[in-house]
Chain length 367, copies 4
């Protein structure tokens, strides 16, 4: 991983700014022969697309993705795939306050301090719009996973909004697509609707926790001791805008457990090893166990709110700012498909890494 590239073999480099002509992903290391077309990728982009309901920014972007290279007659060729998304609704010509003031909680001040120059239009490169490119690349990763690891399924959903948590006892995959929050718990989704409506009207915002689960992951993926599967997942999720925490399996709660509580005992079944529980989140020693891989991440509340906040200007003067414009009251919602995309990229990358270094040399229990 370096600068704007993610992955070891399946390498995704995203590029582009919020209000530039376009953004996209240059994807290298794509396995050849994978069936993929723009419609498949568009399916995932449409999940992330802004302006779909009152809970997300009203910026209107079709987020139409074009494949400019790396496929031939509907299949990947093994050469780099360029995924391009044009920006169409940059709207504001007048950027007003933000050309001179740093918005608290945003990267305005740090980009300036680092680079000495800042594309202030919509946050430039630091805008969450960059994640559209990730979702496109994730779609490509999913297409490859379909071919190389049939049965592997990735599902993301929101499990907490502000202080309000969904109830695992009520989780139902079928509910996830039935509400605007990708919440697996219908009752909680209703509750969130009212809660977020109130926040939105008051001009405030709120954080969220997203969980992403991958089922059907083969045992053996991960490359200790620094290219671990959990290491790369932590990096992948933490690299998403506004993420402040990442957990695998028990996560932070593992600290409160004793060894006897935390043990996932092992049993033999006809299909290989099975476990009594999954505190580990499907990863031991950085390598997948074959159980569900379970990752959670926390997204902070959108920093753009209507309450005036103290800040300073480029020339160092004290001032105040109110961030108007089109913003998500809970950016966590649109982070769901992004988390899924990152999971897909990491798993494909490790599948290719494993195949490269190990081939068929992995171990089979019971002969």
């Amino acid at each position: 991983m370096s600068l704007n590239t993610f992955g070891h073999i399946f390498r995704v480099t995203t590029w582009g700014e919020s209000h530039g002509p376009a953004l996209g992903a240059t994807v290298d290391g794509v396995p050849p022969g994978v069936e993929v077309d723009e419609a498949q990728l568009q399916h995932w982009l449409d999940k992330r697309k802004p302006g779909q309901n009152k809970y997300t920014t009203q910026r209107r972007e079709p987020d139409a993705v074009r494949i400019l290279s790396g496929t031939f007659e509907g299949r990947t060729t093994g050469t780099p795939v360029q995924l391009l998304i044009e920006n169409t609704d940059q709207r504001s010509k007048d950027y007003g306050d933000i050309t001179q003031k740093f918005r608290p909680g945003h990267a305005d001040i740090t980009y300036f301090q680092k680079y000495g120059i800042r594309d202030y239009r919509g946050g430039g490169r630091s805008s969450a719009r960059e994640t559209a490119a990730r979702v496109a690349a994730g779609g490509l990763a999913r297409a490859a996973l379909n071919a190389l690891a049939p049965g592997l399924e990735i599902r993301g959903y929101m499990v907490q909004m502000g202080p309000r948590k969904a109830d695992p006892a009520r989780y139902d995959d079928a509910q996830i697509d039935q509400n605007p929050f990708w919440c697996p718990d219908a009752e909680t989704a209703d509750d969130w609707a009212g809660y977020l409506d109130d926040l939105r009207k008051s001009g405030d915002s709120v954080g969220a926790v997203i969980e992403v689960v991958a089922r059907g992951v083969p045992a053996g993926l991960g490359a200790p001791v620094y290219g671990k599967l959990d290491t790369d997942l932590a990096a992948a999720m933490m690299s998403i805008n506004a993420v402040k925490g990442v957990e695998i399996g028990e996560g932070m709660a593992a600290a409160a457990l004793t060894g006897s509580q935390n043990a996932d005992e092992i049993f033999m079944s006809n299909d290989g090893p099975r476990y009594s529980s999954n505190h580990a989140g499907g990863i031991l020693g950085g390598i997948s166990t074959g159980q569900d891989v379970v990752v959670r991440f926390a997204v902070k509340p959108t920093s753009s709110i209507l309450t005036p906040r103290k800040t300073i200007t480029l020339s160092g003067e004290q001032t105040e700012i109110v961030t108007k414009g089109r913003h998500d009251p809970c950016v966590g919602i649109r982070a769901v498909p992004v988390g899924e995309a990152m999971m897909a990229c990491v798993l494909l990358d490790h599948l290719l890494l494993h195949r490269g270094q190990i081939g068929d040399a992995g171990g089979r229990i019971g002969g």
Copy 2:
């Protein structure tokens, strides 16, 4: 980052197994002219060394580090530094059960599934003994930071053991070295002593949360959008044995906040920008703000406990295992210097990355 290497420019590759002849770190990209000797590195290794009190494993290892290359007359030359630590107390010739059984919660089963071969002696490569090499490399990173970023200080400490949390109101840096838990809160340290003693005697273990803080970090470090400072810190900490969660600033708790609660307002001071609070943990958009960089990570309880657990054998038979031997009842304790070392490596790496790409082109607020 790939396989056993960590870092972009300051690249640390660790090698070695728990019961092999030696282990170490090959460190490339070291800035030249840095004063360093074995005694300096030993200082940090001694903090992590096993067998120092009844709360850590009774394995006796001097963990004496040798510098085999990359220095001349007490200064680094810019060439790779090889840090070697011999294993002296491998003791057990009889590995008993673990040659055929997989210990639950350990990487025995996944290493076998991945590689088809497993060095079962003390966990081989998956042993936390590997972290000795990290601490040595971290000592080297600290020496370089002393030269390149004077005033930068890194401090780690334990803030939670099992369900028992230290009280931030009582944090006192001076206490950290005064108890065997690196706890900044003396009252809590006393409490933990009794608690852990009981656990140890019952043959059980417990998890912990470690916090690492870096003060005096210059603004502008970090390389969006994938080589972010928080991304690399998340990867660094998650790569440590037994870590299941990583948080920056507010961490997972950010999910429960509203935008107005979470805002770090900005003020101008004679020394540059100052903030009303540090929910962000010193990082905005993946770049350091100049505030304290604050990271926490959760370490799961040691999986080696005296309670018998269900497991299977290499040949797939159902069985039970009790993990005897010399183990840490709370591995989190010895993770404190490891977390500090990873913080040092990441900060130095980003300092060099920044200097390479940016040089003097960064921005100064107020002219």
Copy 3:
């Protein structure tokens, strides 16, 4: 370097096929604040552009480059720069023979053997059209070098066509742009004109040797022992289509010399060390000396010729092929700006690497 990316810090990833909708370069690690616009890049692309005279392919491509990201108000921002060039003249809808036959000397057969799928349109990814993206990226590297290493100049020219060598005694920089061969020796240029005309009419092709010289390179660039300046230059030049040999300074001829003949003696001047000669090509131990950096590379003759050649089909049948179409009788001509671009990319990359690891710690003789 991995797959389609070149460089350590200044990383150029090219993408695109000969007859796809577009091709381009994703450039990461660009220093911020560099003045650059499309016209500057176009200047270099126009040197490589096909169809400029009877000695190059008659395919008509404007090779108009667009900057899609990474600049703001005419300066780079430090974020990835996407350089896009649309393909406009793909012409042939009927690819005839080459859909089923492998052209000898081309990558048709190896791409198929590797990937199992092949974009046969104009050679797909293996077409020298890919080098347009390199030239665009090289233009960006030059802009950055202008800012960071004023006085550094890069010049490429052809020194041999087929068996006919230019005479160093007659080299004159002013001549290079005065003939279609970028030949610094006017007399030889005239000779080549007749020679190549005859070859072209006979449907044959011929090889060439290109020399690229960089003047004003600071001493100290290069990162032993594998990221050497000469190592990276060798890789850069060998990666260009049809290149079969690379030389630094004396090159292959160094083998025939004795130590006393080959020595570049060192003298002190007011401006620092000076050398009696430059057998080393400006590089000692992989690090620049401050002398001219001199690289040469040999380009094989175009494999597309009108003489029928034996080959086989996809289904393994014996057959013959004549490669019709629009081809360069001496591809070496258009390799000149490509070699210059690669030199620019390598030097900028090493300048940034040096600044990152070394900063101001380098040594000053007599100081």
Copy 4:
């Protein structure tokens, strides 16, 4: 590749100085289950070992290699392999002139200019002693190739010493080990013996050309367009001390050929495609064809000679130097096993890369 690491998946990082306590190679990405022991590696090191005859340096080093990690019960485990070679005969305590003077043709001056500090003992890191670590790593690569690509054979030999070339018509593999020059042409070996004896006595030195051939390389290895097989071979060979030129197949001579002369026509055989000739050196478009992979490189004459040469001191004063000590009159001799080692590393790396990205998706001609 970065700084002191070579390879994409099979990554070799060498470390150590000429007169430090030890040197070695940290090898990551090693496939698991490969049978290897120290004796196997020693076999290759013994070929490179100094002091074996009057034509190589009289420094006495056993070059005994130890495997410190990454193997268990005689097989690789997939974890990093540390190969350590102790320096035993550093002899000179008095480094005399070279502490203050820069030896012309050596890296003394550039290491100082780059790093501001220089380990002058025996050339420090820039000494060809570093290549012992490469040979050890190459031995490991060969062991893995034996397992993964049975039938693949690598052979290096010297084809030119000074202006005197061996005659391909007399090449006989059986001769290579029969003379101190690894010359495949017995008659030429005799001639070189007298020639080099005279040079050695006069205190002068001479250059050489080495050819390395790999037979039985599967078709399809190589990763266009920058991770090409020929690109990586060029980098590998150019990174060896004193190398000034690298050629693939026809090499620089390709420039003098016409397209009709240079074509390797393709024929179908029972064993797949066969070629009428091998001008390409076994590589088309950066990918192996299945023919012999043929690389040549030129080694400059040793710069350490008894003739006084002009140079300067650290403080910038003009002076003269005579390089006494134990030196190779033709370092090319000992570069032969080094070239073989680099070939082995590159081929294994590309075999793993190919297996990772492509798996079984490669194409089979004729169905």
